[in-house]
């Protein structure tokens, strides 16, 4: 196979940080080459060098055997390199058509001016969607599209550049299983057509399903490169963390108490259908299901973010009505969002301020905030949860994803809740931090905290939870106790395979 891209001994430093240290990577036409590594291992920096966003300090980039130097992303596009970022980078107020061709609109001479030729762009976009087997209204604005549709538009955009090299950065992070299948179909057909694809993913299953080779990076260094047939998950994880992972999903034995919460026949038009469940004191109860099954919606309805149409909720046997998040907090529910950056943390503020924010009224001395008390409170959590920061005055945005998540959890448990609702607590978190978060959650349960945990990673639920509810189409489709739950059983219920 032809080698289309080669990176040799790439070094890239940022002030105070060695981001890439003697990195090597190569990509052949018609292959899908996975890159994996913990968050902060250097994957993103590596990709930004390939796409001309950053310039390496030293080392060589070769495309089709020729050394190249990219001054800007435009140079990379011109050489046929396209990237689809984890968070889609579409322009929300612009149409699909404008988004696909942004920066390289098709033009023709009209009255001496170079005018955009909408008809030609439309034809080409239709051709590209035809190849992808996708049907979208080209005049729809990006803001009206779902995540999966946005990703399709991004891929169409990449194809419109006639790219030979396509980089996908965590493309499945917010897709449903079905959408992932569709995406894989498109990626495979691009591979057939000789496109070289670099595939960055946290989900090891995907790598084995889709990819031909896999490169592991750690601490900015190249660690290993294998054909997927010659390696396995354990080997990859060991390469990624540099140590073996025995305690992947620890669960301490906890005495389960009486009923804490009982929900009966909860309904919300178009979202939840006749949802009933119970959670006992000290339990970790998992909610499994495909994206869109209604898990986050259930958690948000419990917390009063959205209104239920009908149904009853009992806390320790007493009927309660939750109309707002304030009510939920008073009832002892705390919600930790899956989207830390957007709903969880104010990343421009310090670790301390994030942790104490919800209960500043308890931190007063006279008219003013008691800085000492705030600091002591924050320090306690930094210490207990092992948040890696120089001190609690450190800005949250400078922490890694895993540590930010720990701050989110600290903020929640600082409120001393009865029920902690964790929505995808390990999404976008590297393998090492994942284990730490599992330990923290398990430790909280041991202290008697009850936990409602939503996760899309089945092994995580199976390892952590006392019981697992499986949701499908807005209702509870099944329940499995610890010991009986297996990935196959959960998936069968979630997919409704009898």
């Amino acid at each position: 196979m032809d080698e289309v891209l080669r990176l040799d001994h790439i070094v890239k430093t940022f002030p105070g940080v060695l981001a890439l240290d003697d990195m090597n990577f190569d990509l052949r036409a018609g292959e899908i080459h996975a890159i994996c590594g913990e968050n902060g291992a250097g994957k993103s920096t590596l990709m930004k060098i390939v796409t001309g966003v950053y310039k390496p300090d030293s080392g060589e980039i070769c495309i089709d055997g020729q050394p190249v130097s990219f001054e800007s992303p435009n140079d990379a596009f011109a050489k046929g390199v396209a990237i689809i970022y984890q968070e889609t980078s579409l322009f929300e107020e612009m149409t699909i058509l404008e988004n696909i061709f942004l920066g390289h609109e098709i033009t023709r001479k009209k009255l001496g001016f170079r005018a955009i030729d909408y008809a030609a762009m439309r034809r080409e976009a239709q051709d590209i969607f035809g190849i992808m087997n996708v049907h979208l209204d080209l005049d729809e604005r990006a803001k009206n599209l779902g995540m999966a549709q946005k990703q399709m538009v991004e891929i169409a955009k990449a194809l419109s550049y006639k790219s030979k090299i396509l980089i996908l950065d965590e493309p499945t992070a917010s897709l449903t299983a079905r959408e992932v299948d569709a995406l894989f179909g498109i990626v495979r057909s691009l591979k057939e057509q000789g496109v070289a694809i670099a595939y960055i993913s946290h989900r090891l299953e995907e790598i084995f399903e889709l990819c031909d080779r896999v490169t592991v990076v750690r601490d900015g260094k190249f660690i290993s490169c294998h054909a997927v047939g010659e390696t396995n998950k354990d080997m990859l994880v060991a390469d990624m963390v540099g140590r073996s992972m025995d305690n992947y999903y620890p669960k301490a034995d906890v005495e389960i108490g009486g009923e804490l919460i009982r929900a009966e026949h909860l309904n919300q038009a178009g979202v939840l259908r006749d949802v009933s469940f119970r959670i006992n004191k000290g339990e970790i109860v998992g909610f499994a299901g495909l994206a869109g099954a209604g898990r986050t919606e259930l958690a948000q309805a419990l917390c009063g973010f959205t209104k239920l149409d009908s149904g009853d909720l009992y806390i320790e046997g007493n009927k309660v009505r939750i109309g707002s998040y304030r009510d939920a907090l008073d009832a002892g529910f705390v919600y930790v969002s899956e989207d830390r950056g957007k709903y969880g943390l104010v990343v421009e503020m310090s670790v301390k301020h994030n942790i104490t924010m919800p209960q500043l009224s308890k931190m007063k001395k006279g008219l003013f905030l008691d800085n000492g008390l705030e600091k002591r409170t924050a320090d306690r959590f930094v210490d207990e949860l092992g948040i890696k920061c120089p001190d609690c005055e450190f800005l949250t945005e400078n922490l890694s994803g895993g540590n930010q998540q720990k701050v989110s959890v600290s903020k929640a448990i600082a409120m001393d809740p009865k029920l902690l609702i964790l929505d995808e607590p390990t999404r976008g978190v590297d393998v090492g931090s994942k284990a730490e978060i599992h330990n923290i959650v398990s430790g909280l349960a041991k202290k008697g905290l009850t936990i409602f945990m939503i996760s899309s990673e089945m092994p995580e639920l199976i390892g952590m939870c006392d019981r697992i509810y499986i949701m499908k189409n807005g209702t509870i489709a099944g329940e499995l106790p610890r010991g009986e739950a297996t990935q196959e059983k959960i998936l069968k219920v979630a997919l409704d395979v009898a």
Partner: protein, 335 residues
């Protein structure tokens, strides 16, 4: 396969939604005012009033088109009024010598260009937020004028006021209206057919993504100021030539009307969305309100308050329609 198609019914709904745009509501509102005036004060439809309205509308619109570009890149320019004041004084200096419009209008455009460029460079090079940078330059420009000119430049020759008094198409249509029409059509074509206009929208939508798409964000922002400058220059020329005396405070505060026209026209103040046609309608409504109130017997003291109320109403309507749209179109990811 995970088909992600929009059905035809969705398409029809989308087409209907598109029709119910800001521009549509503005047009309705405009027609309503015109009908009310027809009934309440027929005298409003005299040639004289129409020409006065059109003249004000012309220079407001020309400046607002420039402001629209700046706001689309999610910046703002509160120095527009000050720049126009400076332009007026500069061309009065030149016009005093008896120079024809062919000389002083380009000088005015160049003045607008340079002053606006200064704003653009402050914002992009020194990373000063647009509101702060242009607020500072407003004071600078306004503060500088009295040092150079004492109050006003007067006794300007007929060559100077030629544009406002003599230059009329078919003997009645002021040249300013022709300018506005040509500029409006030109910019409508520019916004639809130029590659550069797409970059303006992209920058206003998402600076980070624009950078990743290979767009030089700073260049696009400075360019928006560079285009707006000469437009302020033309507006300043129309304003200054309306009389034989040009004062140093001629257009101070005019920036609020300009920004109001753009915002009323549906351009998002956070950038990235808005169309020229909206700005045209916004400017037209603002131009009509004050004389219209006059004609139905309300004191002109009321006009600022009424304009404020209209803008507030427009912003509320657009924000409410945004909210309901969002509710209706939460994209279904499950199929």
């Amino acid at each position: 396969m995970g088909e992600t198609n929009l059905t035809r019914a969705d398409g029809r709904k989308a087409a209907f939604r598109k029709l119910l745009s800001t521009e549509f509501y503005l047009l309705l509102f405009l027609v309503a005012i015109l009908v009310v005036m027809r009934v309440a004060a027929p005298g409003f439809y005299s040639m004289n009033v129409i020409m006065t309205v059109l003249n004000y509308f012309s220079y407001l619109l020309i400046a607002a088109i420039g402001m629209n570009l700046i706001i689309l890149t999610s910046n703002i320019d509160v120095a527009a009024g000050a720049i126009i004041s400076v332009v007026a004084i500069v061309i009065a200096f030149v016009g005093k010598t008896g120079a024809p419009i062919g000389v002083f209008m380009p000088v005015g455009m160049l003045t607008g260009f340079l002053l606006s460029l200064i704003n653009g460079l402050f914002i992009t090079r020194l990373k000063i937020p647009a509101i702060v940078a242009t607020l500072a330059t407003t004071q600078l420009f306004i503060g500088f004028l009295p040092l150079v000119v004492e109050g006003s430049i007067y006794d300007l020759p007929a060559t100077f006021t030629w544009l406002s008094f003599k230059a009329k198409l078919f003997g009645f249509l002021p040249a300013s209206v022709i300018f506005a029409a040509v500029i409006t059509v030109g910019f409508m074509l520019f916004m639809r057919y130029s590659q550069f206009s797409k970059k303006i929208y992209a920058v206003g939508n998402n600076q980070h993504a624009a950078t990743l798409s290979g767009i030089n964000v700073n260049k696009v922002m400075v360019a928006a100021f560079m285009i707006a400058g000469p437009l302020y220059g033309i507006a300043g020329t129309i304003i200054a030539t309306a009389g034989q005396r040009v004062t140093t405070t001629m257009a101070n505060g005019f920036e609020f009307s300009i920004i109001a026209a753009v915002v009323l026209g549906g351009t998002s103040i956070s950038g990235g969305s808005g169309r020229i046609i909206g700005t045209v309608l916004g400017a037209l409504i603002l131009s009509i309100i004050s004389p219209a109130m006059n004609y139905i017997g309300l004191s002109s003291d009321w006009s600022d308050a009424v304009m404020g109320a209209i803008i507030l109403l427009a912003v509320i309507v657009s924000s409410v329609s945004q909210l309901t749209k969002k509710k209706g179109t939460i994209a279904e990811v499950t199929t």
